[in-house]
Every structure is written in structure tokens, then in C-alpha cells.
């Protein structure tokens, strides 16, 4: 992979714990990989608010509407911070948004699915955010320091979101049979995307993202951590998970039905159940808000 002395030295430095700042020299491959990764993270934050946005007006109480709105504001804020990191790496935010709405770049699999009920909103805020925070905590050790620093702020805010999600779920499971059913159905719908969330179990030694120490955690390690932390929390509420193979072996490893990785690839390539609708909405909102940025920039000029 490394072809010249400078690249070899850079690689040795990052692999032994060294960090990289914006102005430092970096191999093209490293710059491309960090840019693409952070851009996808930014896209995911931006697209991730759409399933929740659908529920602001339908949230059951004023308190829930406010909390949901605050969570959405946090996530749009994360997108802005992350696009700043991408811009400093050389790709302007406008280009990122153009690529996103044209379907040329990706966003996380879980945001390609519809939110059918308020139960889905609870499951997203609790379990999707829990899965996300496992990856995000590992990214605090990313060799690209400006990204790692932004992750500190993101992780801090995500911890509020998980609490909000748990609170929604606990309210529903202590409510009527109908409310409880709402949660169970949502979990059944979300389990497959959750199991795909951390990606296919590529061995860390074959993962170029681990090689450059952009990621420090293997996909399967993240999924195991998620299962270990959250399956017991789901079960203790008397809820079930739709995988008959799911069990913890005596040596502490979780077994599960292998997700269909081709399907994951299809979903993140824009063929998920809500992909087209979400991208259409993002295109529309970009077109509708265009006059705002034009006015602001014209006045500032």
C-alpha cells in the first residue's frame, strides 16, 4: 500500500499513535479516506434528522416535541461541524451537498428506512443512537486529530439522546398494551438494520481504515459491544428480538443470524425503502432554502 519513504514514515507515525493536523503533509490515500469517511458521517447526521422530523408535529406531548426538536438541532449542528472538517481537508460543503442530493455519496443504512410509528422514533433514539455512540467513542482515537476533537463534543451530546430514547421507550412499555405493542413492532422492524449498522465483519488486518488508524475498532468488535450492552436491556423489558439464533455463548461471544450484506450494500447505494423519498426531500429543502443563503451572502458582500 505504501509506496514511498514519506508515506512509510507517515504510516509508521500514525500506527504508533501519532496524530495528524489539517496543515500536515499526508498521503493522498489518507486524505481521500478521511475525507470520504467524515463526509459520510456528516451526510448521515444531516439525513438522520429526516425520519425524526416527520414526528415533530405528531409527537405525543409538548415536552416530547421540544426534546425531539432539540435532538434534531444537535444533529444538524453535528453535520455542520463535520462538514467544516471536510472543508478543511479540501472539499467544500457545497460540493458535499451536491454529491449527497445527486446520490453520488453515501449516508448510513439506518436512515434509509421509514419511521412508521412513534415506537420507531423511540427505538431510533435509543438503539440506533446506542449503536452509533459505540462507533463514535472508538473514533475519539482517530489519527486525524480535528475529527477526534469534534467527536468529543458529538459523543457528549449523543449521551443526552440515548437518555431521551430510553425515556420514550420506558414510558411506552409501562403504558397500555397497545403502546407496548408499538415498541415490540418497532424493534422487530429495526433489528435487521441495527445488525447491519456496524458493517460486514471484515478482519481488522484487512480493513484499510484500521490500517491508517482512521478507525481503531473492527466492525465485528463494535457489533459485539452493542449486543453485549443492549440485548440484555431489551430483554429485561420483556421485549423480544426477532432472531432465533441470537444467544450469548459461554465465552461471552454473541451468535446471531448473519445479515444479508448484499442487501446492506443495496440499501446504502440508495435502494432502501425510504432512500428516494429522503433524497427528494433534501433536494427540495435545498432548493427552497437557496434564497436565504443567496440573500445573506449578497448582504455580507
Amino acid at each position: 500500500m505504501a509506496t514511498d519513504v514519506r508515506t512509510e514514515e507517515f504510516l509508521a507515525q500514525v500506527q504508533s499513535g501519532g496524530v495528524v493536523e489539517t496543515g500536515d503533509w499526508m498521503p493522498d490515500e489518507y486524505r481521500k479516506r478521511v475525507t470520504k469517511f467524515v463526509e459520510m458521517h456528516a451526510n448521515s447526521e444531516l439525513m438522520g434528522v429526516l425520519p425524526e422530523r416527520d414526528w415533530i408535529l405528531r409527537a405525543p406531548t409538548l415536552q416530547r416535541k421540544l426534546a425531539l426538536t432539540a435532538k434534531i438541532q444537535d444533529e444538524v449542528g453535528h453535520a455542520q461541524l463535520l462538514y467544516r472538517v471536510v472543508e478543511d481537508l479540501g472539499k467544500p460543503r457545497e460540493a458535499c451537498l451536491d454529491d449527497l442530493i445527486a446520490g453520488r455519496s453515501k449516508f448510513h443504512n439506518v436512515f434509509h428506512y421509514p419511521t412508521k410509528t412513534w415506537g420507531d422514533v423511540g427505538v431510533i433514539a435509543w438503539l440506533v443512537d446506542a449503536a452509533a455512540i459505540i462507533s463514535q467513542k472508538a473514533l475519539l482515537k482517530c489519527s486525524y486529530a480535528p475529527y477526534a476533537r469534534i467527536m468529543r463534543k458529538i459523543c457528549w451530546e449523543e449521551s443526552f439522546h440515548i437518555l431521551h430514547g430510553r425515556d420514550v421507550i420506558l414510558t411506552l412499555v409501562t403504558g397500555t398494551d397497545g403502546q407496548r405493542e408499538l415498541v415490540q413492532e418497532a424493534i422487530d422492524r429495526w433489528w435487521e438494520p441495527l445488525m447491519m449498522f456496524h458493517g460486514n465483519p471484515i478482519p481488522p488486518e484487512d480493513d484499510p481504515m484500521v490500517h491508517w488508524r482512521i478507525k481503531s475498532q473492527a466492525n465485528e468488535e463494535a457489533r459485539q459491544q452493542f449486543l453485549e450492552g443492549y440485548v440484555p436491556q431489551v430483554w429485561e423489558l420483556g421485549l423480544t428480538l426477532p432472531d432465533p439464533k441470537l444467544r450469548r455463548t459461554d465465552d461471552g461471544v454473541w451468535e446471531y443470524t448473519e445479515p444479508d450484506w448484499d442487501r446492506l450494500m443495496a440499501v446504502v447505494s440508495g435502494n432502501g425503502p425510504a432512500s428516494a423519498e429522503r433524497l427528494a426531500f433534501r433536494r427540495l429543502s435545498r432548493a427552497e432554502a437557496d434564497w436565504v443563503s443567496r440573500t445573506v451572502l449578497a448582504e455580507a458582500a
Binding site: G23, R84, K153, A300
Partner: protein, 98 residues
């Protein structure tokens, strides 16, 4: 029609040092202030913010020790060997061993 980058520094509480927090892109200082307040102050996590246009930052990142000025640093002094010798001459032991 340009957007400038403003570096944001944040003080967590009175008496603490200002620390770099991140940056915002804004068409002017008014927008930079609004964005910085939203990004770094809306949960009461900051006692004060500084906004500095990136092009106003004068960075120094090379610290070459051309004349080997190690007498300015703690690693310029090796005490251990000579202390041992001094104790031997005086016929004493280290305080902890007494």
C-alpha cells in the same frame, strides 16, 4: 460574496484557560457569533467564547533547538549519579533508607 472561517475558543468556567473548540464558517461576524453561540454555548457549557478570523491567527509550529539549550529544561540536568557519589563521600544513605 465570501464566507470566512472563524476559529472558536471556549472557556468552560471562570478562571479556566481559553481552549480551541472548533471553527464556524460565516459571511460576517454577526453570523459567526450566532453560529458559535449555537454550537458551543447552548447547553451552558461555556462561560465565554472568543471568535478569531482564521486569517488573523499567526501560527508558529517550528521549535528547532539549534544551540542545544538543554540547560533550560529538566532533561538538561542529571542528578542521580552525582547525588550517589555525594552520599558515598559523606557516608550517608538516601532519606527513605534511614
Amino acid at each position: 460574496m465570501t464566507v470566512a472561517i472563524y476559529e472558536v475558543f471556549r472557556r468552560e468556567r471562570a478562571g479556566a484557560a481559553m481552549q480551541h473548540a472548533g471553527s464556524v464558517a460565516a459571511p460576517d461576524e454577526r453570523f459567526a457569533e450566532i453560529y458559535a453561540r449555537e454550537q458551543y454555548g447552548r447547553r451552558g457549557e461555556s462561560d465565554a467564547l472568543w471568535l478569531v478570523r482564521r486569517d488573523a491567527v499567526h501560527e508558529i509550529a517550528d521549535f528547532v533547538d539549534e544551540f542545544d539549550l538543554k540547560y533550560r529544561r529538566v532533561d538538561g540536568y542529571s542528578i542521580k549519579e552525582r547525588l550517589k557519589e555525594a552520599r558515598e563521600r559523606a557516608g550517608t544513605a538516601a532519606p527513605a533508607d534511614r
